[in-house]
């Protein structure tokens, strides 16, 4: 399945691109903070304090989705264990935040986090050493997911494990980590994970100012991750990866090492996921083993396919939109849906109310997500971005994509 957006591999860094990039950056990193801090909270366009970490969380998910799109959309590596790298980055940040609590914990132990005192640890496990330093934590955020991906990828790609088999073993990897991190004697807080943070590099994690700072850090992280992914996918290596995705043995016979190319991009992707996790943890205030659950990793693939696989921008948009929908359906609902129904029917019927209340419940989220995934894949295989291209929504005046793009909607319609 050809993707319209993948044809434009040259002239990718023109003024048009930077204009759009800067405009998006301006909205996210300047206007949103200004509406949070600079205007009266009573004003209708003001961004309330509780929204800021929520937006930050979505941006972390967007980075995570980008990391998956880099390997899935361009190299055909469907990792269903991407959540594991995210969680590992998050745990590294969590360990730093735990060490910052110091004597402010319930047990007031200057060295041991509360859960260790509770579990009767006598001393700090060796792998917690150094996490009182922010720089060490940053290093580990990059190294731990990167190293795991490197070793795992080396073993898998060297043995030419690909396709559905690779998806299954990545899923098994995250499940194994889930079980391991649930254990109390692993030294990571078991079931409860790491929480009750106080401050980060001297700033109170609960203060609106710090939260805004973390949000801006997430915007910067997303921007940097996007530029990196765009650079890789538009480079010659990017074309080698796309060639690998479509005809792997041909690429080998041309003399390229499929193993090395996949390994490089898989490792970069894991590091990005780890950074996303590290930005996520201080904003949500907790990291626990549920982040390793296989369902989480599958959800990431859904964000990417909803947004548009192999488009980068689509992955980020998909992550934000699906999570907005999730928050809305599980928190704001079902009253809003009832309102909609009563408005359409003139009055809310009991049966209708029962149905709506029954369907749009938090615990049904997985089913709604699954239906969304199946629907998108069947009806719009190119995702939201492909849909936008089809209707020329994103086609800027005078900036028409090269001719082959015009063939695309026809092909997409044939498939639909």
């Amino acid at each position: 399945m050809a993707d319209a957006t993948q044809i434009d591999t040259r002239g990718a860094w023109g003024p048009g691109f930077w204009l759009k990039f800067a405009a998006t950056g301006l909205v996210l990193a300047v206007i949103v903070p200004a509406l949070n801090r600079g205007v009266s909270p009573n004003w209708f366009i003001a961004v309330p304090d509780y929204i800021v970490p929520l937006l930050g969380k979505y941006l972390c998910y967007a980075i995570l989705a980008l990391s998956l799109d880099l390997i899935w959309g361009y190299a055909g590596i469907l990792s269903l264990g991407q959540g594991a790298f995210f969680a590992l980055g998050g745990y590294c940040m969590g360990m730093y935040l735990m060490r910052q609590i110091g004597t402010r914990g319930v047990y007031q132990n200057p060295v041991l986090p509360d859960f260790m005192v509770f579990l009767q640890y006598k001393e700090l496990p060796w792998f917690w050493y150094g996490f009182d330093h922010f720089a060490w934590a940053l290093l580990m955020i990059v190294l731990v997911p990167g190293l795991l991906a490197f070793v795992f990828g080396w073993l898998a790609f060297r043995s030419r494990v690909s396709g559905v088999y690779l998806s299954i073993i990545t899923q098994a990897m995250t499940y194994a980590l889930l079980l391991a991190f649930f254990r109390n004697d692993m030294g990571f807080g078991g079931n409860n994970g790491l929480t009750d943070y106080k401050d980060i590099i001297g700033w109170d994690v609960h203060s609106p100012g710090t939260r805004l700072g973390l949000y801006i850090a997430s915007v910067v992280g997303l921007g940097a991750a996007y530029l990196l992914c765009r650079y890789i996918t538009r480079s010659k290596l990017g074309r080698v990866l796309m060639a690998l995705r479509d005809a792997e043995s041909r690429v080998r016979f041309l003399g390229y090492s499929a193993t090395n190319a996949k390994l490089l991009v898989f490792t970069v992707s894991a590091v990005l996921a780890g950074i996303a996790g590290a930005l996520y943890v201080p904003q949500v205030g907790i990291i626990n083993p549920s982040e390793f659950s296989p369902g989480n990793s599958i959800e990431i693939a859904i964000w990417v396919s909803v947004g548009g696989r192999g488009t980068l921008v689509g992955a980020a948009i998909g992550a934000v939109l699906v999570n907005l929908a999730k928050s809305w359906l599980t928190a704001v609902q079902p009253e809003s849906w009832l309102f909609l129904v009563s408005w359409l029917h003139g009055s809310a019927h009991d049966a209708g109310e029962w149905l709506i209340r029954g369907i749009f419940r938090a615990e049904n989220w997985q089913f709604i997500l699954g239906a969304l995934f199946i629907g998108m894949t069947l009806l719009f295989p190119q995702g939201i971005v492909g849909l936008a291209h089809r209707f020329h929504w994103l086609r800027w005046r005078g900036r028409a994509a090269p001719p082959p793009v015009d063939d695309k909607p026809i092909a997409a319609e044939e498939q639909a």
């Binding site: 993948q6 040259r10 290596l237 005809a247 043995s249 003399g255 390229y256 090492s257 190319a261 001719p403």
Partner: protein
């Protein structure tokens, strides 16, 4: 099957052996795809290999290009490169190119990019990340495009090409890589008569400065190449010589016509 009969080649200056296969056996679940196959291709030679289905033609190419490891036997390139120890990428970088039976081009890349990836250059993963397009490369790609008659399709997706154009693009990909030895697996399968003629001319042109091994079913095409022919049957060489010699060979006639 070691009673292969060989017509003595006409006298000519001795050339170096480029590809040397000795006693190669490959079996899949007991079926011997190659059975004690021995074959020598000289440097600069154009060789055609024919044989009925299942004779081991494609398996032979798989062994040479590193896709399949032989159970026994030796495969040497340029006298001292042991191909049974190398993987596909390393063998490709030694200078052996391969065209597949079904045209295999990168359908989601443009025709230009297909050639760009094939153009001899660094294959290091790290360096491809920072590779830049140069006017020299562009010129070579454009020259190849005009040689294979695809200049007008330069910016189209390879997937949008016709079957014949894909075959040509694939030959162009081998051409631009500048390999010493080209293995062409059924280069005219599914082509029209005119395309077949053009392909034969292209192969003869290419054969002037490199060694080419062509596997083919189409006897008219094999005849038009006018090269030495090796007949494979049940995984080993049945006969070898000129096209007239092998076509009149009683065992070859028996294998092809009746059982």
């Amino acid at each position: 099957m070691s009673d292969a009969s060989t017509e003595l080649a006409e006298p000519r200056p001795a050339r170096d052996v480029l590809l040397y296969l000795n006693g190669v056996t490959v079996s899949f679940d007991g079926f011997k795809a190659l059975n004690d196959l021995s074959l020598i291709v000289e440097d600069g030679e154009l060789r055609t290999i024919i044989g009925p289905n299942g004779a081991g033609k494609t398996t032979m190419m798989d062994v040479v290009t590193g896709k399949t490891r032989p159970d026994t036997g030796e495969v040497f390139f340029r006298g001292n490169e042991d191909l049974t120890r190398l993987d596909e990428a390393a063998i490709a970088n030694l200078g052996i190119g391969r065209k597949f039976q079904r045209p295999t081009v990168f359908e989601n890349l443009t025709v230009f990019d297909n050639l760009d990836l094939s153009l001899a250059d660094t294959r290091s993963t790290w360096r491809t990340l920072f590779a830049r397009q140069t006017p020299e490369r562009r010129e070579r790609i454009e020259a190849t495009l005009s040689r294979i008659g695809l200049s007008a399709q330069s910016g189209s997706l390879a997937g949008a090409l016709s079957h014949g154009q894909k075959q040509w693009l694939e030959i162009g990909m081998l051409l631009i890589h500048d390999r010493q030895l080209l293995l062409l697996d059924e280069p005219v399968a599914g082509l029209t008569d005119r395309e077949t003629e053009e392909t034969a001319a292209l192969i003869l042109d290419l054969a002037r400065d490199r060694t080419i091994v062509v596997v083919e079913h189409d006897m008219a095409f094999v005849r038009s190449l006018g090269a030495r022919v090796t007949v494979l049957h049940e995984g080993s060489v049945l006969a070898e010589g000129s096209i007239d010699y092998v076509q009149n060979h009683p065992r070859v006639i028996e294998v092809y016509l009746g059982r």
